[in-house]
Symmetry: D2
Subunit: 328 residues, 4 copies
Amino acid sequence: MPIRRPPHPEPPFRIVRVSHVELGVRDLAAARAFYVDCLGLLVSNETADTLHLRGLEERNHHSIVLRKAREPHAAAIGFKVASEEDLDRAAFWFGRNNLPTSFPEIPHQGRTLRTADVHGLPVDFYFRMEQVERMLQRYAAHRGGRIQRIDHVNCFTPDVQASHDFYSEIGFRTTEYTETEDAGPKLWAVWMHRKGNVHDLAFTNGRGPRLHHVGMWTQSPLDILNLCDLMATSGYLPNMERGPGRHGISNAFFLYVRDPDGHRIELFASDYLTVDPDLEPIRWSLKDPQRQTLWGHPAPKSWFEEGSTFAGVPVREPALGAQPIVAR
Amino acid sequence: MPIRRPPHPEPPFRIVRVSHVELGVRDLAAARAFYVDCLGLLVSNETADTLHLRGLEERNHHSIVLRKAREPHAAAIGFKVASEEDLDRAAFWFGRNNLPTSFPEIPHQGRTLRTADVHGLPVDFYFRMEQVERMLQRYAAHRGGRIQRIDHVNCFTPDVQASHDFYSEIGFRTTEYTETEDAGPKLWAVWMHRKGNVHDLAFTNGRGPRLHHVGMWTQSPLDILNLCDLMATSGYLPNMERGPGRHGISNAFFLYVRDPDGHRIELFASDYLTVDPDLEPIRWSLKDPQRQTLWGHPAPKSWFEEGSTFAGVPVREPALGAQPIVAR
Amino acid sequence: MPIRRPPHPEPPFRIVRVSHVELGVRDLAAARAFYVDCLGLLVSNETADTLHLRGLEERNHHSIVLRKAREPHAAAIGFKVASEEDLDRAAFWFGRNNLPTSFPEIPHQGRTLRTADVHGLPVDFYFRMEQVERMLQRYAAHRGGRIQRIDHVNCFTPDVQASHDFYSEIGFRTTEYTETEDAGPKLWAVWMHRKGNVHDLAFTNGRGPRLHHVGMWTQSPLDILNLCDLMATSGYLPNMERGPGRHGISNAFFLYVRDPDGHRIELFASDYLTVDPDLEPIRWSLKDPQRQTLWGHPAPKSWFEEGSTFAGVPVREPALGAQPIVAR
Amino acid sequence: MPIRRPPHPEPPFRIVRVSHVELGVRDLAAARAFYVDCLGLLVSNETADTLHLRGLEERNHHSIVLRKAREPHAAAIGFKVASEEDLDRAAFWFGRNNLPTSFPEIPHQGRTLRTADVHGLPVDFYFRMEQVERMLQRYAAHRGGRIQRIDHVNCFTPDVQASHDFYSEIGFRTTEYTETEDAGPKLWAVWMHRKGNVHDLAFTNGRGPRLHHVGMWTQSPLDILNLCDLMATSGYLPNMERGPGRHGISNAFFLYVRDPDGHRIELFASDYLTVDPDLEPIRWSLKDPQRQTLWGHPAPKSWFEEGSTFAGVPVREPALGAQPIVAR
């Protein structure tokens, strides 16, 4: 009984990559201090109740949208599709699968399809977004973690197998996965991509759907070390949750931080290329401590348990009860 | 009169990425010392007259093939396609365009189409290659420049516009380009990709077709500096041709070295993501010195003039006579 | 009641720096694999029961001496003095203070004074050592952590105040120190130097005298990260005890590893210059978690409790009972 | 006929290290933009016509003093001595050697001796300087090249042998030197230290006395690469004179930049420890291109010829006419 599916060879519509996430935050000024002054994201637009942010290489208007809210929450995960036609094909496909579809007006974006996945996780698709100046070679504007772009989004799901099947069906390819060690092993976590590196989207077993973290790409481990020094000495020490370290999975260098509302951001550097269609996914055992951190440091309990709920989306207990290794 | 074309939206066959290059070398032991002991490539297979090499993350059997030869030359540039059907479609397309097609037996590869582009540049297409162990997380095997994978191939062409048009037709997208500063500007150089970063293939105006260099991906500028120290103190000082430095084009950190037969290898780190279909290419003027090197160092004359001829392929003078800025 | 003393302005003899440490190890082949193949130290001399090792920039014959022994132990800490006359003055001073003095024959060293400090900690002084080739610019010989030189030695002492007073008397200067938070604060730890950076010698409250660790200098944090990757994937994961991280004290980047006999080695990069005679030492509170690690990670219990006994030297319980913050 | 002298074993007074340099600049605002906004030095004090600057780890009030002047010039090189008594001994020694002595009032410094060396090069000695906050662990204040401290001063001298003899007499030790390749080799350049690394002071054959450059210490080559990117894209491309690269001499990683008045600053990282009294100096041949740059890049002509004159100090032609290798 194979638990992994290959990606659909001719997916019903073409997704290019994960593109942006919208987060609800209680104090926009505090969030701005964290994301802009500390992490170093660039401001594309700022209003009384929203902040549109991007990384240094991004010409897309935004990869993180912060919106003033009464309670912290995640709003939606945004994906770019390959054309306006793909957007229509996406609407058709979601409709046919009895999932909600609408086309709300989204500032700074073209036509946008709002829908949800099999667990109710809200997802947006669009083709056009307002283009802004690329700052990659305006080095005087680089600050903090010198974040270049959004890389991926990681979510808790109550049923990893179902999430995996759903996203395989719309063209995502699995690059690495974790199995339980049962006689009939179960999928504990999957890393899936469209854009050609380890992932655009990952799912981990847990109460969900909830947002685990947004992964932001930095150029090098040194930029991540510099950010550690900066955070640790400018009042953000309690916001450093895990790392820095080297992931076994993806081989990337990482740091996990929490924003003032508890949303989790990963700084992520140097994984590998995955465009070959015949690339075999890498299997990890749930009990292998080097899966989490090649250097053996277990992650803290908060990292396994806490996440951001999606506004208005009920959370379910996970199907699997197995436990990874947790720092005491 | 637009000189750049968008990539073909529905290309006649799907190329995944540039995959490997075969080079003829006079002294296989000297080449081995250079590529393996100094640069740090891994040996996948070794016979009396061939060496198959790969980078640390590559599961494909080879990205550089060295073959003993009477005179140095480049043999062919290899591209991976998305399926066996794409291979058949490629054969059909090249045949219909009156370009030579054959299916020679290639060790360690599946069915392989051998053909040539509009200037006679030899290109191979294949879908299946023997898979080998990924060494990315076997750090004890990392040496020299800690090269992770092949990134791109750069060639001289006598007619950049024609090369650009040819590869656009089969699905390559232009990310950056250099124009002359004439009233009617001409294409001087183009960077084109399939895999989602700045390039798989680049063309520069000059006597051609000739191979300018093979670009190999490293994780960070520090690995490149370490390689400089290593080469400079282990007998390879004369092989260091240009750099280290930061390219204006691609923003990558680079070093150009010459192998014992004069073939040019680029160590290349940290460019940017280019998967968005609506990404506008970046224009550079031929007279902008920061185009070549952001830090202003002009390239040496050899870098503009020397390259590897393709075995049996006649070389033509370039159409354009304009000159870039050269170090005196 | 001042607890810190300035260094003696005209010390009785001139110590240049800490120079080497001798360690007893049970399995010389296992120790060689660890220190040479993994950490990257160079072999200056090798016999059936000893290994003399040095770092890349060291022209002195040895900075770590490994000697086959039935049980693991530390033998002595070696200091270089400024001249043969200083050696005689040292012998006179230790004799006058009723401490043992002898001049054993030590291979690869000139005349060597063997004595002990106020707690019986064995110390050697010498002026001349056999000189060997500097390998700093022989980059092809650089391996593992690319260790450049010995930097410091850190010991447990049952009475930090007494150790501090003793070494101040012979010319060591305190650069940083930790105090308890009592009404009458007590010295918990001191960092003292002769050579002009944060320390040659440090003392921490604990069962002692015992060797806590030998600190080895590396060029950059990147070399330490590379060593982490190497150790974690070549069988030395259990030997990684703490870090990598940034010390609050000294601001250095660090990694603590344990050799196969449990001796602790610190990889240490980038502290600061301390040659100014009017440099005020930096005070840290025992309760400040950033003292240990700027990024807030507490050290494991083993790091506070375990150390190498000195052969034949009785260990006493410490005077102070206060406790630092320990990782659960 | 030995041309090098050992340092005086009991020098007439104790110099601790080179401490600061005063430079005359025509446009203080332009100089501030360069030194503070671009290089990242910290401002200790600012008046209408002076700027006192320091590096991140420096507790001394200033290491670079900029003073508004009609024409660019260097004013004096400042050295810290070990005590007030050493200052008196210095005044006595310079007076006895018929060199000028005075004790002008210098803001932010204690008693200061102003004198000159054998070629009229103006030098200041002092023991006390106002102490300011150490910013090494205030990472949010780190900018540009993240310069930690002054490292050394390099001057042209018309007679390297005479300069070498003079500074040896007052306790400087030679660590590396360049000789001509004559039958009777002559000293072409010397690197001399007091503080324990490669140099506090260097002299090169040329029209002098003139200031060649002030060397500023940075933590790592990466900080220097980051500064290159920053300068190249914020209007300072013409100010980048040489590098980045690895020196053969000292093995340090370097970048030479020119301030808006043409004064030359070197960013300098990672040399080696030189405190051992029996450390043999390293000899380099004037004809060895790796002496200048391990990677073989020759320095530009300006680097060999241009320097800052000392206010009111006549310049003489050098004794030697030999020529190093210059970039065409």
